[in-house]
């Protein structure tokens, strides 16, 4: 009885974990670009979609080619044949998965580098406007081109790399573990970057790019680098998503996704990766649990599409956080490099005879 009960909730739990992990990668990457780097990449969803399309196109084209599927790129029959092929050829399936991740990251990074061009020239808010629309243009092209992801119908049959595992429950848990592993790796990676001189450099460029230039920092290169890193990570999130839902539809990548991810970052605390975990957790929970399927599970029914509620709540959170706690749940801290550790040691405390500016500030700085 109890096991049955658990079993019925297991899919919800695994899907929550997978989505949390994917969103976390996306949110951490946006935090890198915007929180640390100060580039308001509000076209973030576009870079996620680049990875998602890459995974779909690469898988479908490759499988169609090696398995000799003639049924037509977008046909339902091709979709079935692809799934069959992938579940019976584990090596190929995994190879394609890995190749998608690598290529997705590369292409995502290239697009990110391209997007750093306007980032050098425009004022913050105009850059944000431009990037929001860049993001949506990508979707408009994808939803109208059969050749990419089959326009409005979407590309299907991008079977999970683990589809050779016959038991659905085991398979989804295994895939969840892979995705979580990527999220953990991403977290470790961005956290290590954030605690390095590179993290310090990013913040310096963000706070005052002219002063950074005057201190010898090649600001265009730094902006390019962070956009490459952020976009490559976003694309990886997209690749993982495609293999998770086993297909890709252009209209899934609405600007709303950017705003959802942005809310995760703002709510948690910009330039603070721990905060972003918290923000992502809260927002993923909202995203998952305010859904028709979950509510019907609870026996709740409303007369309208409950997803609308979700967006209203996102909007309210954005407004409240920006108004009352713009630094987010966990505010930004210093860059924890070994230098800071050294600086904190009492070895460098001195009794100073004459301190400049002392007369005004003595109260505030006597820690």
């Amino acid at each position: 009885m109890q096991i049955e009960f658990l079993a019925s909730y297991m899919p919800i739990f695994t899907s929550f974990i997978v989505l949390f992990a994917i969103y976390l990668i996306a949110a951490l990457s946006l935090n890198m670009e915007y929180g640390y780097g100060g580039i308001p990449n509000f076209g973030h969803v576009f870079f996620i979609s680049v990875g998602a399309y890459m995974a779909g196109v690469l898988t479908a084209r490759t499988v169609d080619y090696i398995a000799g599927i003639k049924a037509g790129y977008c046909s339902g029959q091709a979709s079935v044949l692809r799934t069959e092929y992938l579940s019976s050829h584990p090596m190929e399936a995994i190879a394609i998965f890995v190749a998608s991740l690598v290529l997705g990251a590369i292409i995502g990074g290239l697009f990110g580098y391209a997007a750093s061009y306007p980032a050098l020239r425009l004022k913050e808010d105009f850059l944000a406007i431009t990037l929001i629309f860049i993001g949506d243009m990508g979707r408009i092209i994808a939803r109208n081109e059969e050749g990419i992801v089959c326009a409005l119908t979407g590309l299907t049959g991008i079977a999970n790399p683990l589809s050779f595992i016959k038991d659905v429950g085991t398979r989804s848990i295994a895939y969840a573990l892979i995705v979580v592993a990527f999220a953990v790796l991403t977290y470790i990676y961005v956290q290590r970057l954030a605690k390095s001189p590179f993290g310090r450099l990013l913040k310096a460029v963000r706070d005052d790019d002219l002063a950074a230039m005057a201190l010898g920092k090649v600001v265009p290169r730094v902006r390019g680098e962070i956009m490459i890193i952020g976009s490559a990570l976003a694309a990886i999130a997209g690749v993982l998503r495609t293999f998770y839902i086993q297909g890709v539809v252009a209209d899934d990548f609405q600007p709303l996704i950017t705003f959802l991810v942005l809310t995760m970052v703002i709510l948690g605390g910009m330039a603070n990766n721990k905060g972003v975990i918290l923000g992502t957790l809260i927002m993923t929970a909202l995203d998952q649990f305010i859904s028709p399927s979950f509510l019907s599970l609870l026996g709740v029914s409303v007369e309208f599409d409950v997803t609308y509620m979700k967006y209203i709540i996102i909007g309210v959170i954005i407004i409240l956080v920006l108004m009352f706690r713009p630094q987010g749940a966990i505010p930004e801290g210093p860059v924890e490099t070994p230098a800071l550790e050294l600086s904190r040691s009492s070895e460098w405390d001195v009794e100073e005879k004459l301190e400049i500016g002392g007369e005004e500030e003595s109260s505030s700085s006597s820690e």
Partner: protein, 252 residues
């Protein structure tokens, strides 16, 4: 004495305005030179041109005999010319010690490929940190080293800027009003730090400052600009007697 920085007939125009109009001078190694002149006479523009923020419309700038005209600001920094700003431009969300750390050159950990591998840059980082902390102590900033940059007083910010500029082992410092908005006593302290650095490291300074009574106690040579032109180049005492300088300040 050798000329470390040579400015040759440099001009910078904004639309029809000749902000700097054919300025030439040499800076000799180890000199502290004051750059003065009425508002809008082109002093800050000149520093912006030398430090690469603006490209000059005409003229050449040589550093140790090498033509550095039109290089990007970061390249000029790496050559050994560092400038400060009239309004202190500290990185707000960095601590004082981090503000100083940023200024080090060739940091391995600033490369995003190497940055995740802390062991690859940790030694260098600690070495830089010691240098930074020593200098911070020399400038009397130890007590606030772990404070946010925004928590400092104006005078402390000015000092952090100078501390920061020292990290790249520069040869020439261009300081834009290093003591602006600071009470006279503290301004003198900042200037005595400047003299100390010059004596210790043999650096060369070009300093914009408005309070001549303070400035003239520390500099051995003064350049005076008016309407973008250099109208005086000589010792401080002569400034009071030179009719062109007096006309520039008091009007003709």
């Amino acid at each position: 004495m050798t000329a470390i920085l040579q400015v040759r007939d440099v001009a910078k125009y904004f639309g029809g305005i000749r902000a700097v109009d054919g300025v030439s001078f040499d800076l000799n190694e180890g000199q502290i030179v004051g750059l003065i002149g009425p508002n809008g006479s082109g002093k800050t523009t000149l520093i912006n041109v030398i430090s690469g923020v603006y490209k000059p419309n005409r003229g050449k700038i040589f550093f140790k005999g090498e033509d550095i005209t039109g290089l990007d600001p970061w390249d000029i920094y790496h050559k050994g010319i560092v400038r400060s700003f009239q309004v202190p431009r500290l990185f707000e969300k960095l601590l004082v010690v981090e503000n100083v750390m940023v200024a080090h050159r060739n940091q391995k950990g600033e490369n995003p490929v190497i940055a995740p591998f802390h062991s690859k840059w940790k030694d260098q980082e600690l070495e830089y940190a010691r240098t930074s902390l020593h200098t911070i102590r020399e400038f009397g900033l130890s007590r606030v080293r772990n404070n946010w940059a925004t928590e400092l007083s104006g005078g402390q910010m000015k000092l952090v800027e100078i501390t920061r500029s020292m990290m790249s082992e520069p040869r020439v410092l261009l300081l834009d009003e290093p003591a602006a908005g600071v009470a006279p006593k503290l301004a003198r302290e900042i200037f005595s730090h400047i003299v100390r650095i010059r004596d210790e490291y043999g650096l060369t300074f070009l300093i914009i400052e408005h309070r001549l009574d303070i400035l003239f106690d520390y500099v051995e040579r003064v350049l005076v600009m008016n309407y973008g032109e250099l109208i005086y180049d000589g010792d401080p005492d002569g400034v009071y007697k030179d009719p062109r300088v007096i006309d520039a300040y008091l009007g003709e």
